[in-house]
Symmetry: C2
Subunit: 218 residues, 2 copies
Amino acid sequence: MSLRDERKQQSRQALLDAALTLSTSGRSFSTISLREVAREAGLVPTAFYRHFQDMDELGADLVDQVSLSLHHLIKSLREGYGLKAPSKTRMSIERFFAAVNDSPLHWEFLIGERWGGSNIVRGAIEREIHFFIDDLSQDMHKLPDFEHVKDHEDLRIMAEILINLAFSWAMTWLNLPEEQVLRDTQQEQLISRTTRQAQLLFKGISNWQSPIKTVNPE
Amino acid sequence: MSLRDERKQQSRQALLDAALTLSTSGRSFSTISLREVAREAGLVPTAFYRHFQDMDELGADLVDQVSLSLHHLIKSLREGYGLKAPSKTRMSIERFFAAVNDSPLHWEFLIGERWGGSNIVRGAIEREIHFFIDDLSQDMHKLPDFEHVKDHEDLRIMAEILINLAFSWAMTWLNLPEEQVLRDTQQEQLISRTTRQAQLLFKGISNWQSPIKTVNPE
DNA sequence: TGTACATCAGTGAACGCGCGTTCACTGATGTAC
DNA sequence: TGTACATCAGTGAACGCGCGTTCACTGATGTAC
């Protein structure tokens, strides 16, 4: 890559970073302005157009970048499945919160904009969540813990439940107090609570019998 | 109430209605302007200040109004508990979607602004959700189906799971296609799916044993 | 390697626009006598 | 009941501001010879 291309790439990234920062500092993506983003990135407003046609295009690209955190999480969870651990559920939950800690702004963005004001961003996030559910339910299909579940569709439902819950957990996690000691104890409590919620779900599915599909739903 | 007071009340309501409509038409509360709201309500911008100090104050009042739908739902569910029905879970789910149908904008607003851009609105919604969880978990405590659950805290966790799921269900419900026949079949499918998700949860809690609380969580 | 030209990321002035907010006002409604 | 005054929801002009977008430009980097 030429020197010019490299610098262009840097500016582009600065714009994306600026948009992410501004979107997650108590505001939302659809309330920030093109000029604010450029200013935060250290550029003149007109330079914005060298990289994106408008804020919608930047938003779509931002979702792509931020979604990498979802893929990293899937990867981390996969590495965990193979390990021996006293509680696999708890370990997966810990890996989840570690992912949230790694890139808190990414999670805040995904959760906050999932039902947010920009149609483009909302659609892009919903698509990524769909992929995540696919991946997760396929992983579960391979795990011995779930091999008694015959209907693949049941695992999808389970994965859907899990990701919806996970988003609430992440938001609670991110809103924990700053102060060290308080934070540590509340983090531990939250991990316990969420582990319990997940175990409750798994207990459910382990006793689950797929209902016979009737021809006439009435 | 005097004639003047009545008319003032009408204008005030027109402003609240306008804000709700604008907030749920593909945009969000924090992206709509005071002038837009006044215009939509058929008032001059400056008249806004006769009713609210600023958009934040209107937002807080709007959350109060919209939250009535949550209270109505709790009431409707309570009436259902007593009835004889082939599937109580399915009936509760049906009552839930009926509530969403009754005031779709209210639900769209609550869900969209729960993690939205306005701090004031976000806080007010989180408070209402808290009340809802309290009510729901207390109701569950009284139901025979859950009397074997000893730890009240487990019911709270359950109620938390349920409301988070319910919000996703409502959003899916609201995004179903407009076309009548397609809509009818997909509504039926969604009711079946969500009933199944809920039953899966209840199976879980019916097999649930509260973990012994260790002194040292390590 | 050196030169002459092309490319193009970033600049800065300018535009028209909708915004939130102020202010002095109007005129219908309410109140005191 | 009628009159004189007070209240106050709604009006309309005006303000300064940040916005998105256009345009002609600059000057560093890239390319062809």
